[in-house]
Symmetry: C2
Subunit: 418 residues, 2 copies
């Protein structure tokens, strides 16, 4: 028995007509009907195996299914995985959350495809082949954004500077979900511009996957701050690459071999100096600091590179670093400690560098490419709150992006602020 | 300059009248005004120091501030702390989230106070003194529930069987936030009745603090499942009391002294057998298993008590346990392992008992009263996602309850399901 209408529809005219129209279009056979005089409540009997489809059809007809439009920029490894899980989860989302995510546009560096009626995430390949070559042009995207959406999300899975595009989306009233840390980690004026656009239009900007991939770090930080806690310090290992290298140093591997092994396993950026400079960790630390309310410029992050002197060349820098590193490591090991590349974020102070930590502490016991985040707050001052797990990876990042989309799609719009 | 109205109000008649009325009632001096012909946009200049109050006044006048009603049952240690942080955070919530939480009723075992206009969370003491002695009577509460609320939350911080009360609230269209694990950990039919009531009325039931206090465990589980991940296993230490005892055993303390020390520090229940029986851990494990979609009765949890034979008496049971425990511990230590009281939740199987784990593993390196949760899923199969931190405590539990309230208060209502 499906009695999906209930009180919500009280007083609406023509309820029964819409109801039966919806059931008819869905090809569902109505076995029996009971209706009160007021159309306040209508019950319909259908075969059990058709019940779920019937409920869905009725919800869609009465606007109870939430339809959210997605515009996706970036179609690299994370983007492709996101398409895969969008395809995989769509039935589940509709059945369990009454939610339909409709992909209406996808842009990659040289091509752009859009269809307001919805693109099938699993069947884009032929569309790419026949799409004209045209770089993602903000004008074109602006038109797409305007055509649609009371309820839309720009999903940014690129790694380039998309600030302008994100601002365009926010000002068009779209929410933004980004795995791209570039727009958030440049100068403070730009950061403020993004946050101001969100407040002004009451749209949301979710960026859980700009650090720690799918780990619930930003969620945790937000909940602590919103419930009135005071952040004393976030401390953590934010680079899987440097984490793996530190573990191999513990095992006695010389730094040159540790870096080579990281390259071989595909852990490093194409140029490993990007990782070894600590710049990537510094960007992530800056994003966490700003999310905690600190007003900092990139230059305010005190950055000690994992390997100094990289500007002269990788091999030379590694060779020069080997002696001093071995020495520090021997000192650390003799005290039951290890070296870890750590970001420390405390009010007014962000530091990124190699530090000695107790081998049995949560950070010291970390091994391999995992990330770890240790929160000390007024409430968690004696026993910190710790989150640990893979902080990189295509699968967990794409899932985290979908998680950010769902946070918006299952929640209300906040009112705009002046 | 306050220009809080914007496009949202387009087409509404009498905007300027309501606007100036609101400013006037708030005692805010309007310095200058600019208005378009259509009332689509009205800008008002006020003194900078009055800007925030002005925005708030306007938002409230136009219904942009969300008003959520709280009915609280239980006024023990967690309840009192919750009242304290409600008082402490109310200004922040209004300013930052445009959210007003209005406490309209508080019940404790023998007394009940209610005021639809709002109770001040920090000033209940005189009200309790003058309140009549009357136990919380579901009839009375039902009347309070009916009087109010398009948007209300029952907050349950008791530790008794409040199933009937919770069902009454859910069926009245209130959301429920509970730190009380009793209603969720009894027979399956009752669990289904709660979940069915939520689906039917589209209300939410948040219970993050029924295990792991304020740690974001349920949030993480929900996000993994919603984004299409498949749970392989949750493994963890869910009792701070038993965690502390296991740590002291590692340090060589005999079990009797470890239990005595836990009692002295206030870690145990009044009767320590409640902890040592493992029943509390079994309840939490059952809640996690059910949240993961497993249909299990309490008897389906395979429970090995921390200390067997407790029914004959605590001292006798501890004495009998000492020899075998010392032996197991010596075997474990000789292998670089430790003993931990672990809950394992895997599809179709829930087990709670003392197990040997590698000292350097995330669970093995846990010490003191912390909780730990290790998630293995399809996505996190090689490197698990780990959450660790205090799993008990008045302050973190009350904050977690407020976090659960905010998840509802900042999000939309889900449509009811048949």
């Amino acid at each position: 028995v499906v009695s999906a209408i209930g009180q919500g529809m009280a007083g609406h005219a023509g309820v029964s007509g819409r109801l039966f129209g919806a059931m008819g279009s869905a090809g569902i056979n109505v076995v029996a009907i009971a209706q009160g005089a007021s159309e306040l409540s209508i019950s319909v009997a259908v075969a059990e195996k058709e019940a779920l489809r019937a409920v869905r059809a009725v919800h869609t007809a009465f606007g109870l299914t939430r339809l959210v439009h997605l515009v996706m920029v970036g179609c690299g490894r994370v983007g492709k995985e996101l398409l895969r899980i969008l395809e995989q989860t769509q039935t589940k989302l509709l059945e369990e959350l009454d939610l339909q995510l409709r992909l209406v546009a996808v842009a990659r560096s040289s091509k752009f495809i859009a269809d307001g009626a919805g693109l099938s995430p699993g069947s884009l390949t032929p569309l790419w082949a026949s799409a004209e070559n045209r770089p993602t042009d903000p004008e074109l995207l602006a038109r797409v954004l305007e055509e649609h959406f009371t309820d839309g999300i720009l999903v940014d899975v690129t790694a380039t500077d998309t600030t302008e595009l994100q601002l365009l989306a926010l000002r068009s009233g779209l929410h933004v979900v980004t795995a791209n840390k570039v727009p958030l980690s440049q100068n403070l004026a730009q950061y403020h511009e993004i946050m101001k656009a969100c407040r002004k239009l009451g749209v949301r900007y979710n960026y859980e996957t700009t650090f720690g991939a799918g780990l619930p770090v930003l969620h945790t930080l937000g909940e602590l701050v919103n419930t009135g806690d005071e952040l004393l310090e976030v401390r953590g290992c934010l680079s899987g690459t440097l984490g793996a290298i530190c573990s191999w140093l513990d095992e006695g591997l010389p730094i040159r071999e540790a870096v080579r092994r990281a390259e071989e396993r595909g852990y490093t950026e194409p140029d490993p100096r990007e990782d070894l400079s600590g710049r990537d960790v510094a960007r992530k630390a800056l994003i966490i600091a700003r999310a905690s309310g600190m007003e900092l410029e990139p230059a305010d992050v005190a950055l000690e590179p994992m390997i100094p002197g990289l500007e002269v060349g990788l091999d030379q820098a590694l060779q020069a670093a080997e002696g001093p590193l071995d020495e520090r490591l021997a000192v650390a090991h003799s005290k039951g400690a290890v070296l870890r590349y750590i970001a420390e974020i405390a009010p007014g102070r962000v530091h990124v560098g190699l530090s000695e930590v107790d081998k049995l502490s949560p950070i010291g016991s970390l091994s391999g490419p995992d990330n770890i985040f240790v929160f000390r707050t007024q409430r968690y001052r004696e026993h910190p709150l710790v989150i640990r797990g893979p902080g990189a990876g295509v699968e967990v990042t794409a899932a985290g992006v979908l998680g950010d989309v769902l946070k918006i799609a299952t929640s209300g719009r906040r009112p705009p602020r002046s």
